[in-house]
């Protein structure tokens, strides 16, 4: 009990201090608009990657259409904000939830047929879904067609994005450490055994997948209200792959791994800008090297924790018998 409270206090103070530092740096203009933009892109990628990790890392179902869910959330949230027009953060939160629900509903629609089957059907179906969404966005009037959706009020800044991101990760962490989370992980480990100990596998596969879709929708909603312009081209297959790469690199089944990888892989292409055309080459080479030397991802299935880190740092001293 006290252990649990101690962890909670450590985590909250850590998050708060990160927030305060970043907030002050922004206010002091040490972090300029360009860096702030990268930071927000990082945070949105954290939401997308951690949510996809629930479906792919914890549940073990390969999903290739995360950008599609993100797009559904982004467009729905943007359209809600544009039509309702209540100013302020409350409007944003309502839009985000509605965007998330729309994406989650899409998750139910494609999840029910795909997840009743065992195997990799979901990968193919989500792949198709992502493309269908993209093509629809190009051709519908309500989404602005190929010109994109313009004039979305800029309701999301660093503050909102940061706290929504924290909330999403906290919820995902809680889910993965509950009985529902254990049921989800048991399906990844062995679906037949999970059924044989009484886990209703279809329900839990659907739960994991729909939660992932929901939070992808929330992430999309934030993206819409930060960018103020939505271009259907950004939600293509490569975007889905990008998110998947983050999940694999961070470690399937590690939320903190996804966070680290999301930040790293969002900053990396920007940091490599000075190499101009060699940028993608370096990016790919880095991924290959990473996968050769650490095939399980940065953290594997472990979670990063301050206490765990301290324990690790202390250990060699004790073993070596120094001091």
């Amino acid at each position: 009990m006290t252990e649990k409270r101690k962890r909670l206090v450590i985590n909250i103070s850590l998050i708060l201090s990160v927030y305060v530092i970043l907030f002050v740096l922004i206010k002091l203009k040490v972090i300029n608009r360009y860096y702030e933009g990268i930071m927000i892109a990082c945070l949105i990628n954290v939401i997308l990657a951690t949510s996809l990790n629930l479906a792919t890392g914890f549940l073990g179902q390969l999903a290739l259409g995360h950008a599609g869910f993100m797009a559904v959330g982004a467009y729905t949230a943007a359209i809600v904000t544009k039509t309702v027009g209540m100013p302020g953060t409350l409007q944003l939160l309502i839009s985000l939830v509605i965007g998330g629900i729309a994406a989650g509903a899409m998750g139910v629609v494609i999840g029910i047929p795909a997840l009743r089957l065992r195997g990799d059907y979901l990968a193919i179906i989500t792949l198709g879904f992502g493309e269908i969404i993209r093509v629809m966005l190009f051709n519908l009037d309500i989404t602005g067609g190929a010109r994109g959706l313009r004039g979305i009020p800029k309701l999301a800044g660093f503050n909102v994005v940061f706290w929504v991101c924290v909330l999403v990760v906290a919820i995902l962490y809680a889910v993965t450490h509950s009985k529902q989370g254990r049921a989800i992980m048991s399906i990844r480990e062995d679906e037949i055994a999970a059924e044989a100990v009484g886990i209703p596998t279809v329900n839990y596969k659907l739960l994991g997948f729909v939660l992932a879709a929901f939070f992808a929708g929330v992430g999309g909603g934030l993206y819409a209200h930060y960018m103020t312009v939505l271009d259907p081209k950004t939600f293509n297959f490569m975007r889905s792959v990008e998110i998947l790469v983050i999940v694999v690199l961070g470690g399937m089944g590690s939320l903190t791994g996804s966070i680290i990888a999301a930040i790293g892989l969002t900053i990396l292409p920007e940091a490599l800008r000075s190499f101009s055309e060699y940028r993608l080459l370096l990016y790919s080479a880095l991924l290959i090297v990473m996968m050769i030397f650490k095939p399980g991802g940065i953290l594997g299935q472990r979670e990063f924790s301050v206490q765990g880190l301290l324990k690790r740092l202390k250990k060699p001293v004790v073993e070596g018998g120094e001091e």
């Binding site: 889910v175 009985k179 048991s186 062995d190 037949i192 999970a194 044989a196 100990v197 089944g253």
Partner: protein
């Protein structure tokens, strides 16, 4: 009334009749062995009893209710738990989580309570922890609780699978070749464990086995099948001298 009863069940895969006219009645607290040569259809019968396969003929009743057409996870909740011939543990999860997953339906809180982490969550999780540890203690595995299941030695993995099945609180336990791959000493230990389970948990056990010594040693009743059909039934002594059985095993 018998606990688990199969009446004339059969299943065909295409033109092949894998099991034909198989009947069995298992009473409470009984230890029954199901034996037969390779490919006789033993595991297929298990798969029908646990809802993995749908029998094409006949009826299976558990505690007076038919289980034909029910999903495996529903049948578990009705009281029939099983282990697998090739161990199927949740390999990358800890030993205690393996057991807790089987306690799923006893842990009483919803998704939102799990996210909000209130009192209910704490209480339920603590209770699950205690229950899971108790089960591990019975199998003398409490020291391995936080280890990953895949890192256990083979014999312990078998035991963990049985512990996990017992966590679902079954009325009848179906063990599919529990002694496969074990050395004589481990087999002896396993026989003691199975006896102990029956007495301690007061449940019926149905056992598939190749190892004749094991089944002869502990089963009260044996059923021998070959080519999907029952060729003999009776006490171990009767089976030992049954010519048809000797023929099936040694070739006649």
């Amino acid at each position: 009334m018998s606990l688990l009863s199969c009446k004339d069940i059969g299943i065909s895969f295409g033109g092949l009749k894998a099991v034909d006219g198989f009947s069995i009645d298992i009473n409470q607290k009984e230890l029954v062995g199901l034996i037969g040569p390779n490919g006789a259809g033993k595991t297929t019968i298990f798969n029908m009893m646990t809802g993995v396969y749908l029998p094409t003929e006949g009826d299976i009743q558990l505690d007076g209710k038919t289980i034909v057409g029910k999903k495996p996870y529903d049948i578990v909740r009705m009281g029939a738990a099983r282990t697998f011939q090739n161990i199927r543990l949740f390999r990358d999860l800890t030993v205690i989580d393996n057991v807790k997953i089987a306690l799923h339906h006893e842990i009483d809180y919803g998704l939102f309570a799990g996210i909000l982490r209130g009192k209910k969550y704490d209480r339920a999780e603590e209770k699950a922890q205690v229950e899971a540890m108790e089960l591990l203690k019975i199998f003398e595995m409490e020291e391995y609780a936080e280890q990953k299941a895949k890192n256990l030695p083979y014999g312990k993995q078998r035991k963990l699978e049985i512990a996990r099945a017992l966590a679902t609180n079954p009325k009848v336990l179906l063990l599919d070749e529990p002694a496969a791959g074990m050395n004589p000493q481990e087999t002896q230990e396993l026989m003691d464990t199975i006896h102990f389970i029956r007495d301690h948990f007061q449940i019926a056990v149905l056992l598939i086995e190749h190892d004749m010594n094991l089944v002869m040693g502990i089963c009260e009743r044996l059923i021998v099948i070959d080519y999907g059909k029952i060729i003999a039934k009776g006490t171990p002594d009767e089976i030992r001298s049954n010519e048809q059985v000797i023929g099936a095993y040694l070739g006649s």
